[in-house]
């Protein structure tokens, strides 16, 4: 058993090492040779994998604001235990996205220009400011986790005093940020394929990120429980499952009413690539997880919650890739497949994010429960505490 674990760990370590080395080589190449040499982007396909990945990174960070709001603004104490994993996920997600944005910019040394050169009409301007403001807020929300490790009480107390204001601002900036990714495409009604273009695109982006962000927490909790016996109680996870089920159903109904009301029914059954990708997204990201979570009992089962979260996240990834790549292929008249450099740089950031999450959850108090030898005692103590708060 132990050797098996050791082997598994060193396997993932070597895979990560390879990804990191290859990724760093690609980053150096990208800056030394330029975007033309290292990416498959072109005049007619100016945005590719990286933009799609930015949407995904920010979308999967959505638990950061939804959970903070649920626990601290709506005062649902049940969810206190997942505020920290949610904020850590969001923080890592945003840092990855910022790094990737800078790599993606044609003139990265001008990245600070939006701070002083303003064009409030631009969605991209709104996005830039949302990234800046929400990253600052995440830093403030995340700081106590680091500070308490070093027992710095004064700054923690200060942060605690402003915490509600900070959280409210965080929710507002996140809402704007998530939806503004959808707004980016509003300006191109004739370029984006009708199955994805909608004047409600910002709303679709906002709703879908909530389910994906919460699924991310279930996903991480399961992996962490397996890796180092830290995790979350099942009644918290099934609470998340219920919210995910509701949000996925709302988005599915909303998406199809939007399509039907805007007269796009015929597009649903055209035998072309876009249609297949659309249905793949709907089946993987909506229908399967809704089905799993609707079966009685499955919502209280860690394993099924975990499976449904994988489907929700995959469907979400597919949706963002469809909007940013698939939907534009036809009008650009050019096929785009990401280059080796684009893929390896993206993988590098994913791997760095995973290791950052692992290291921080291991060394700082992120997950509240640790299932040690006395895990039963902890669970009982926890149950008592729960009764104390919520009554029997």
């Amino acid at each position: 058993m132990k050797t098996n674990n050791l082997f598994r760990l060193s396997f993932w370590k070597s895979v990560s090492a390879i990804v990191i080395i290859v990724g760093l080589y690609s980053i150096i190449s990208r800056f030394a040779l330029g975007l033309g040499w290292t990416t498959n982007l072109s005049d007619l396909v100016p945005w590719g994998l990286w933009i799609g990945f930015d949407f995904i990174g920010v979308g999967l960070a959505a638990a950061g604001f939804t959970i903070a709001a649920t626990a601290h603004i709506f005062n649902a104490h049940k969810y206190h235990s997942i505020v920290r994993p949610a904020i850590l996920t969001a923080y890592i997600g945003y840092i990855i996205v910022i790094l990737l944005l800078i790599i993606d910019l044609g003139k990265p040394r001008n990245f600070w220009h939006p701070l002083v050169m303003w064009n409030p009409h631009s969605v991209m301007f709104e996005i830039t400011w949302c990234v800046i403001c929400y990253s600052t807020i995440l830093t403030l929300e995340f700081a106590p986790i680091i500070l308490e490790k070093f027992n710095l009480k004064a700054p923690i107390e200060l942060l605690r005093k402003i915490s509600i204001t900070v959280i409210i601002c965080g929710v507002l900036f996140s809402t704007l940020h998530q939806s503004s990714f959808g707004s980016l495409y509003l300006i191109a009604p004739t370029k984006v394929y009708p199955l994805w273009y909608s004047s409600y695109l910002p709303v679709h982006f906002f709703i879908s990120c909530i389910a994906a962000g919460l699924s991310m927490i279930i996903f991480e909790a399961y992996l962490c429980a397996r890796a180092f016996r830290q995790g979350l109680k099942v009644w918290v996870l099934s609470g998340l499952g219920k919210v995910i089920l509701t949000v996925l159903s709302i988005e599915l109904i909303f998406k199809f009413s939007d399509l039907l009301l805007s007269g796009k029914f015929s597009y649903l059954f055209l035998p072309i690539q876009e249609t297949y990708f659309f249905w793949l997204e709907i089946i993987i990201g909506s229908i399967i997880p809704i089905a799993i979570l609707s079966i009685p009992g499955y919502i209280n089962d860690r394993k099924w919650l975990y499976f449904s979260s994988i489907f929700t996240i995959s469907g979400f990834v597919l949706n963002r890739m469809n909007v940013s790549i698939t939907s534009l292929v036809r009008t650009s008249g050019q096929n785009y497949t990401p280059s080796f450099y684009e893929i390896s740089i993206t993988l590098l950031l994913v791997v760095l994010g995973m290791w950052a999450f692992r290291l921080i959850t291991k060394n700082f108090k992120v997950f509240e429960t640790s299932f040690g030898q006395n895990s039963e005692a902890v669970e009982t103590a926890d149950l008592k505490q729960r009764e104390l708060i919520f009554g029997k």
Partner: protein
């Protein structure tokens, strides 16, 4: 304010000689990109092209919209619609997000992909020449008058006059007059424009409006959202306090009864 300047391109007069193409290259000091100009396409070193469609020739270039998409989408305001008409780009401001390329309804902006500090490139409607009172290099070079430069109101009148006088010779529309709300480059042709590779799907209204319908909701989202969240915080906090007090009271009563 001076009248805005623009170009009128009449497909019926174009003989496909490529003088405009050459003049543009010379004016903007652009290197040769193709031995046969008819086979060339827009690129960071080619701001205008002449394309052949059977017996007709069509010019492609920046349309210099009245309410340009690129101006509205650029996060740092690197694009500017000048009073004279040309839509200009400032490489010193640009951060390289390429939203202008993604958003342009005509897909005109081109990028210096092979550079390590790439800029966006496109026709500038010979802004420097217009400022000096000269006409555009392409119009000056055109031997047949197919490309004509002038003040916008005069060009529009001229285009309308030609369509009216020879209705059998022209397709009865002016391309660029209503597309994306109208711009400073107009095209008239004997055949429908989609047969000459012009994008006829471009909405007949200024493009920035498509984004504004979402952007204008931001203030209300922020204010309503802020008030709602603050309100919910106080409400739920108070609710929890009351619940806790009740529980303590109940426990107290229990103890008294015992």
């Amino acid at each position: 304010m001076r009248q805005q300047m623009g170009l009128l391109f009449d497909v019926t007069l174009c003989v496909g000689c490529g003088s405009c193409y050459e003049a543009c290259k010379k004016q903007n000091r652009l290197p040769e990109t193709n031995k046969d100009f008819l086979k060339d396409h827009l690129s960071n070193d080619t701001y205008t092209v002449v394309e052949q469609y059977k017996d007709n020739f069509a010019r492609k270039m920046c349309m210099h919209c009245g309410e340009p998409t690129c101006v509205s989408v650029c996060p740092v305001g690197a694009f500017e619609k000048t009073e004279l008409g040309p839509v200009l780009y400032d490489a010193d401001k640009c951060i390289g997000c390429r939203y202008c390329m993604q958003a342009c309804p005509y897909s005109i902006p081109r990028y210096e992909w092979s550079s390590t500090s790439p800029s966006v490139r496109k026709c500038n409607l010979c802004y420097e020449r217009l400022k000096e009172g000269k006409i555009n290099a392409c119009a000056e070079a055109c031997p047949t008058g197919a490309t004509q430069a002038g003040e916008m109101n005069k060009l529009i009148d001229e285009a309308k006059r030609r369509l009216k006088e020879k209705p059998d010779k022209y397709y009865p529309e002016i391309y660029g007059l209503k597309e994306a709300g109208g711009g400073n480059v107009l095209v008239i042709s004997p055949v429908p424009f989609d047969q000459l590779g012009y994008n006829t799907n471009v909405p007949k209204q200024p493009m920035p409006g498509f984004t504004m319908q979402a952007m204008e909701k931001i203030p209300s989202v922020v204010s309503v959202g802020g008030i709602f969240l603050t309100g919910m915080y106080w409400l739920t906090k108070r609710k929890n306090e009351i619940a806790r007090e009740e529980r303590i009271n109940m426990r107290g009563e229990k103890n008294e009864n015992e």
